[in-house]
Symmetry: C2
Subunit: 473 residues, 2 copies
């Protein structure tokens, strides 16, 4: 039974008077869980206003009464930013009833979506207008665009189009005092004062609540082609990337690394997923090209393969011959996290390093992990961005539960190495509650002091998602 | 004679003890002027440390003694951000002795430059490594990269590559308390806390001093082609842009609008600049394509021209047949600001509007100006970004001095219209001191309160470039 504080009772009384009945949602368990099962949250209630004014009323009331507020999108975050387990039970502020695509301006290439819009619905609306909204990630069927922005989501197309931050031109948001920022600009250039937009993006609900966003749309590639190449090692993979860049420049939409281990996990847990090679290669890369101009991307893939083969950078390869096969290649890549889940990671790491440091990082990481025990490593991810999911698993025949006591040491060893390589211990998932200590440990101290000062300045009562990103003060 | 406050004297005494002699620069008049002659600043001294530690020592000392500091780059800013005319004489902190290219990592596509590096030198270093640093603007021979970042500079390649903000991966900076943020990351993805980088970028020296930056490099286009098309009106120009996008997608490097008036100004003041058409067309666009992949950009330009001609969107056109002619086209475009200067604008406006609102903005603007008097308008700029330089001139045979009393009314009328069109009154030049009142007038009140709170939080003594962006408190 959640303990509801007197302040929270007062808040609910006030909101019962000011919000419509429909804004109150049953507090089902889904609101208090997160995908990796690391946290179980609590809450005094879930409210879901359907207007920005409703959201402002909630935040104003919570601010008046100093009740914590946890903004809630699709609930798909992987670092516990959406669940608060400690302290007085917060109010969950869900954006699920603000799902409208408010406008779509084709000549300007701008779509305005409310924060609760499902990512896939935003993609579909863009496609229906003949354009592309390129943010694309595994959870796109259930994550919401407000959450994508609050966490600066990444995904498979960052290499070409950037992360959520790069796709956003303007925001409507409720600030921690309940004021509404009407900032839905549709401008490519606007140098009028400090960049509040990028400050809210990636702040994981700790500096305000995003209620709507104007988003950049792109021309759809006319022709796309996808291939999987077997490569001897990550350095060769990077050299293939350089070859591809020299051949087609910015037309590389995705360049994803897969390891032998990942393909083995698929064979073991999801044999229905078709694999392109009879024997899983040590390493492989999924390359996707999209041409908006002239030329044939399939031919370009063949040219890249030949150039790489001559230089011993690839040993085998498959270019998809149909849209069905392209989809199959992507299913392979996108099933890896599911296979990981079935095997059960002891510790997962979402890291990035400079491209030039990447092969060394992987080699040293594997040595470090081998020094800790007979663990298996599945290292895969967005190679073109230097973003690896470096996940550590128990030896075959063992369950992760047997190694709970090693989890901390493994994570620490991987993150120490990332830090040595001048990398990031959270490339795309954010800090949430999972990595608050990592941010303290590895973050620059002048920067951390500035972040704390900003938090205190914008949220002096500390009501917005307390305990996420920065330790509650 | 500048009046030096007792605090400033104390500061100079302290710096004389702690900084090397070479860090003190003679206070020549160039430091106190700005390109448009709108302000004359004052200063108690100019110091130019050659290390980040030296910059930190200066800021720490200034903070201890509450002496204002004005960071100084190339001095090319157009809104008076680099000159302080009011209040006690500040210390000018010049980055002119921090000009090193610290590193260039080709596989990662990252160059680290100190803040005082001249933009052109950064471009050249990238080119020498076979890569492209795409920031490009008229002042590139004298502006410094730190100033470009502090003002989030734009220029002619924003359409394709983004503005200075989009080209920066990490910063080294001295914060207003004199602490050093070592943030020279070379990562494409890094979601570890609030976006301090983008907060400093565009803050015009009011939140800290950028001392170095890691910058993104791009593949150089293999083949480039440039054309000038005569178009009947801005709406047709936008339709040509849409056609070009459909034909070559993201390969459009620049799409610049020029008006009849601008070409007339060139004929009048710079007859040596070669013009492509015997009779200057009412409107024209300079289109540049750069292909990193297959295809011939000249052919693509011809295809675009034909498609546009069939639809009556262009009446005439010239595709450059040599690199010399390409350079000539760019000279034409880039001489327009010089011609403007010779004619003498009563009021210049650096504005942006959503692309779909742009033709209406120009039509309404011309009516508004006609209602104010027999003025001439030269409207030109970065059409593809919705960024127009909408500049108002005296009637032929008159000097701008005759209309000094109309300047305020003209600017107000143009900016009111921009605001109605949901645009920005400073697309690429920033707020500086020139547009502080505009920001107050047109800015969202919740956002402005947040910006002030951020300024107070990071610079509680108000020493960093006081009076720029936000009125001094």
């Amino acid at each position: 039974m959640t303990d509801i504080s007197p302040a929270a009772r007062q808040l609910l009384d006030r909101l019962n008077r000011t919000l419509p009945k429909a804004a109150f949602r049953p507090l089902g368990p889904a609101y208090l869980e997160e995908p990796r099962g690391l946290y179980t949250g609590h809450a005094c209630a879930v409210v879901a206003p359907d207007t920005v004014e409703g959201v402002a009323e909630v935040v104003r009331a919570a601010s008046d009464l100093s009740v914590p507020v946890v903004p809630y999108g699709g609930g798909t975050g992987l670092v516990g930013g959406q669940v608060m387990a400690d302290g007085p039970a917060p109010l969950l502020l869900s954006l699920e009833r603000m799902t409208a695509i408010r406008s779509l301006d084709v000549p300007s290439g701008v779509l305005v979506a409310e924060a609760g819009a499902i990512l896939q619905d935003v993609q579909d609306a863009a496609r229906d207008a003949g354009l592309l909204f390129p943010l694309s990630l595994a959870a796109q069927g259930s994550c919401r665009i407000g959450g994508n922005l609050a966490t600066n989501a990444g995904g498979v197309n960052v290499l070409r189009y950037g992360n959520a931050r790069d796709l956003c031109l303007g925001l409507e948001a409720v600030l921690p005092d309940g004021s509404i920022w009407h900032g839905l600009k549709a401008l490519r250039k606007d140098n009028t004062g400090y960049d509040l937009r990028n400050l809210l993006i990636g702040s994981e609900g700790t500096l305000g609540v995003i209620t709507a966003a104007s988003l950049r749309l792109f021309p759809r590639p006319r022709a796309e082609a996808t291939a999987i190449f077997a490569v001897p090692d990550p350095l060769a993979a990077l050299k293939v990337l350089a070859l591809a860049r020299a051949e087609v420049g910015e037309s590389i939409s995705a360049f994803e690394l897969m390891s032998h281990e990942g393909l083995d996990f698929l064979t073991e847990t999801m044999p229905q997923v078709r694999q392109p090679f009879d024997v899983p290669p040590e390493w492989s890369v999924l390359v996707e090209l999209g041409f908006t101009g002239p030329g044939d991307p399939e031919e370009a893939l063949a040219t890249i393969f030949e150039a790489a083969f001559e230089r011993d950078l690839v040993s085998d390869g498959r270019i998809a011959l149909s849209d069905g096969q392209r989809a199959e290649f992507w299913t392979l890549r996108e099933s890896i996290p599911e296979a990981n889940k079935k095997i059960g990671a002891i510790s997962s790491h979402d890291v990035s390093v400079p491209l030039s440091a990447l092969p060394d990082f992987i080699a040293r990481g594997n040595k470090v992990i081998a020094g800790l025990g007979p663990f298996r490593v599945n290292c895969f991810g967005h190679l073109g961005d230097g973003n690896l999911h470096y996940n550590v698993f128990p030896p075959k025949g063992h369950a992760r539960g047997e190694f709970d006591d090693r989890k901390g040491a493994i994570m620490r060893a991987v993150h120490d190495l990332v830090h040595e390589c001048d990398g990031s211990v959270s490339a795309e998932h954010g800090i949430g509650r999972l990595k608050v200590e990592d941010l303290q440990r590895y973050g620059d101290s002048a920067r951390l002091a500035a972040l704390r000062a900003i938090k205190r300045a914008l949220d002096p009562r500390g009501i917005m998602n307390p305990g996420a990103v920065l330790a509650a003060e």
